[in-house]
Amino acid sequence: MTRLALLSILLWAALGHPALAVRPDEMLADPKLEARAREVSKELRCLVCRNQSVDDSDADLAHDLRVLVRERIAAGDSDDQVIAYIRSRYGDFVLLKPPLETGTLLLWGGPVLIVLFGVAMIGRFYRGRPAPAPAPPLSEDERRRLDALLKGSGGR
């Protein structure tokens, strides 16, 4: 019984759980608003750790930003307003997903362009090649040898 309990604890631990950076005292009482705050802070980059979102990070600044996001949401701001506010302070870098704008067209369209270019090149490669010439018919001698070979393998 103890062994089973130990095993289940080990299994549970081995599954790996995301460490929650959001502290209980930061959370909003209204679960709906809290859920919105979490979604918003998942979009924001922690400026200290760079590749974590504000929602994931334990950094002090991330904590401050989480509190700020919640304050604004509680004050009635829309998600977009909250993000726009933080973006006005920290620039596009604070957004984990770069916005689709004229300045980022190449960034978003680049992969599509490269695929199109590749397809065009492949098409060109095959179109430019002459069709393979039809094989000349077998001579009498070759046909006899082929028949013999086919018979030989079929008899096995």
Binding site: L47, L61, D64, L65, L68, R89, Y90, G91
Partner: protein, 177 residues
């Protein structure tokens, strides 16, 4: 093949990409561009380190003259290296320096200034919110504010004598014209 040059295209692209990456090697990833350049300083009013000093530091202090705003903290090691540079700059009376004591205990901030010197005209104590308003993501950070109260330049990391002489002072001279 009349389109033989097309086969050179991948190699040419590679050369371009390599050049771009090589240039990228020289960029310090710790320095983020500020979104607030040429924007007006945010509205703020910070309390002083000592309540008996009366007024702390607020956005109204920055109107009408070029000023330098420096965020520091007693817990910030790199700040210690820039403090002598700031002291020298303050002594030259070239530009008034304002301080934001960032996420610090007042006593610790005061002890820090007593130890390393106080170059600041005014100091405000910030729990972090005003730092966000300024787009700060660490200390030390230094901002140059023009006469109209617009942020014109931001330096991330400790100021050095070289930065002051090559960048800050020429900018101050230009903004004062």
């Amino acid at each position: 093949m009349r389109r033989r040059w097309l086969y050179l295209l991948p190699a040419a692209l590679f050369v371009l990409l390599a050049a771009a990456f090589y240039r990228g090697l020289g960029i310090d990833p710790n320095i983020l561009p500020s979104a607030l350049i040429d924007q007006e300083v945010p509205d703020f009013a910070l309390p002083p380190l000592r309540p008996e000093d009366g007024a702390g530091f607020s956005s109204a202090d920055l109107k009408g003259h070029v000023s330098l705003v420096n965020a520091f903290a007693s817990w910030c090691a790199p700040c210690r290296t820039e403090q002598p540079v700031l002291n020298a700059l303050a002594q030259s009376k070239r530009v008034p320096i304002y301080g934001i004591d960032y996420k610090d205990k007042s006593e610790a901030g005061l002890a820090y200034l007593a130890e390393l010197g106080n170059p600041y005209v005014k100091i405000g104590s910030d729990a972090g919110r005003v730092g966000i308003e300024w787009g700060m993501y660490g200390v030390p950070e230094t901002f140059l504010v023009d006469r109209l109260g617009r942020i014109r330049y931001k330096h991330v990391g400790p100021l050095t004598q070289e930065v002051v002489e090559r960048t800050i002072l020429p900018l101050v001279a230009r903004l004062e014209k």
